[in-house]
Symmetry: C2
Subunit: 388 residues, 2 copies
């Protein structure tokens, strides 16, 4: 596999197909903010403004604007989105709503801390791109909100009661590691470094089960970590695990932690061993650690984002370890992903395939897909190759 | 199609396969209540006690205990479940929790009014089977709780805010019609008759769009009923519609409303025209009224319950209208359903198939499947045939 050719292919897809699609279709010129529910051809099929999706667009355009190959005018797209979200998206206690309607009136309460997470990332990237203080202030405010809510993330919307087992959630820890990295690189802030170090140690030390070679999504905070008697305890999300592992590699590289590089590389192998569909190819969405029935109906579907994260994890691990295994795996996943998710006719990629790899939805963006995983993957893979 | 042979097949499946499976595997002898997360062979893969699933078991065993072909000893199964649910499942304000852990400690808050709905049905069926006053009291209490919560069903767990469009939900109305029928036939109560009449008129008069020939799940309470600009407004659930339509037929027969019979029969045809998968057979789970992308990843899966409800709707409509169309459709759905959902080796049926009709899960019961839709279908189809 000629990595230079791969790099060109990823860059071309990013700059000639994916970015132009979102530039053309996502901007709501009438009310501000973005449309993310975009059908195959870019037409809008719903106007709800989901906060995760909105802030991730701010983040990506701000990042790309100042990257090699980027255009300064993209800062303006990010800034206009920011203005809308800052003006309408913040609740009185400083947390971010989950969704707004098209006009910017809150439609879904701030029950989810990842709204704050992506607000922090978006604002931090805008500070990095512009140097304007207000973005740094907002990044710090959203980031502190995220950290302060980790123990009780749903607040008054929590439906769990005393009979519900207490769990630690892998997603919160992996995101903290990545958020701290963003705060360091965008704001030059070391405020979250020690929490990030703790989060990293928890992910590889507590969520990873070395005997089973499985990374769990939910563990017990006390006593034996792994609950194999409940669906929740057995929940595995291979794509989440792969995303988490490149966050670990990023952290390890920045902190010069060679042991962590080896550990994360080994976990990546474990995730692929368990999470690969050996019959139809690709990576499962959800799994049960004991292969018992999964709560989620769509567990065997193939989603774009786990494949995007898988590609980053492979190429990142290859660059840091130089092990051929990771390049071979990159080649395998690259082929399956481009063959199945890429729309050969219209720009941008499909989100949802059935287990066989056939698209089940024509959408290019929606409640859970925006200008984020795919462009980040295209950019990061090219960037990693450049560093090899 | 020889209906007597069909009747025998349904009764055999019910009394020789499905009921014995649940009798054998669902009873938690240690703590009370039921296990519903049962794998293919009946083994328990999770012990959470979801209230909808629990109360539906009470309802079905109480019903079958006093039906032709039933066994009196089933009352005891229902009573023991009732005792556990009554003792542990009720919150201080009289609403029912969404879930308990195995020991009976509340694990998920009472944010969902269908817990009250199924409690009312279970208690009412137990009153009918035993004549014991306490069950009537509980049925009335749960039923009044359901009705009183219809305007604000999630209460303090409501995440929707002012920017969210107000909707009327088809599910609440169709269930009210069925609940009132159960209260009439089990308790001899006419307390809910006029609300049921209003609900029936709303379902066929407001949720049904006669121009598009589509039954909508969510409509606007004021102004134009149908919102074709949002995913929520365009949401269609064919199985729900078919279940609703046999509730309408039940209501129409009891009230002698011939116009309603004709209307419901026509709507059933519309639902099949729109909801049938013409490539692989069976009925889609969710659809978009304009065939735009659906919010739900699993929209094209085939679930057991829409097919069970389709069978009842067809045979019920055939009995009341004698139109050959409904018998032909029954034959088509009967074949597809038995060919694909029935497990040829172990008793009880699969819940979840992919679009092609291949099982994606081995489970026979879970968070959303219990001793309810399948046994109710087997019983009701046989019962309808007996009345032809």
């Amino acid at each position: 596999m000629d990595l230079n050719t791969v790099k060109k292919r990823y860059e071309q897809e990013l700059y000639e197909k994916v970015i132009p699609f979102w530039e053309e279709h996502c901007i709501d010129k009438e009310y501000g903010g973005y449309f993310t529910s975009l059908d195959r051809d870019g037409s809008v099929y719903d106007t709800e403004k989901y906060m995760w999706m909105q802030w991730r667009i701010v983040y990506m355009f701000a990042k790309f604007a100042v990257a090699n190959g980027g255009k300064k005018e993209w800062i303006d797209i990010a800034k206009k989105g920011y203005d809308f979200l800052y003006a309408h998206g913040k609740s009185p206690d400083g947390t971010y709503y989950f969704a707004l309607n098209r006009q910017g009136v809150p439609s879904v309460a701030p029950y989810n801390i990842f709204s704050d997470c992506f607000a922090a990332m978006g604002a931090a990237a805008l500070f990095k791109a512009t140097g304007e203080e207000k973005y740094r202030d907002e990044a710090n405010s959203a980031m502190r909100s995220y950290v302060s809510r980790m123990d009780n993330p749903k607040g008054r919307w929590e439906k769990g009661m005393s009979g519900k087992a207490k769990r630690l959630s892998h997603g919160q820890f992996m995101m903290l590691a990545n958020l701290a990295y963003e705060m360091r690189t965008c704001l030059g802030s070391n405020e979250f470094d020690s929490s990030a170090q703790d989060a990293v140690e928890a992910v590889v030390g507590r969520f990873w089960n070395p005997e089973m070679r499985i990374l769990f999504e939910n563990i017990n905070p006390e006593g034996p970590a792994f609950d194999l008697n409940s669906c929740e305890g057995r929940m595995v999300n291979p794509g989440h695990g792969l995303e988490s592992m490149w966050f670990m590699l990023q952290h390890a590289e920045q902190t010069g932690d060679k042991e962590l590089i080896a550990k994360a590389a080994d976990i990546i192998k474990g995730i692929f061993e368990f999470g690969t569909d050996r019959e139809f190819g690709g990576i499962y969405y959800f799994m049960d650690a004991l292969r018992k029935p999964h709560l989620e109906l769509q567990w065997d579907m193939k989603l774009w984002w786990p494949h995007c994260e898988a590609l980053i994890a492979c190429i990142f691990a290859y660059r840091l370890t130089k092990e051929q295994w990771f390049l071979d795996k990159f080649e395998e996943i690259d082929k399956w992903t481009w063959d199945h998710f890429r729309d050969p006719e219209d720009p941008e990629w499909y989100a949802y395939l059935n287990r066989r790899g056939e698209p089940t939805h024509t959408l290019k963006g929606g409640k859970w897909k925006t200008f984020f995983h795919l462009p980040r993957c295209l950019f990061t893979v090219a960037d990693q190759i450049a560093k090899i």
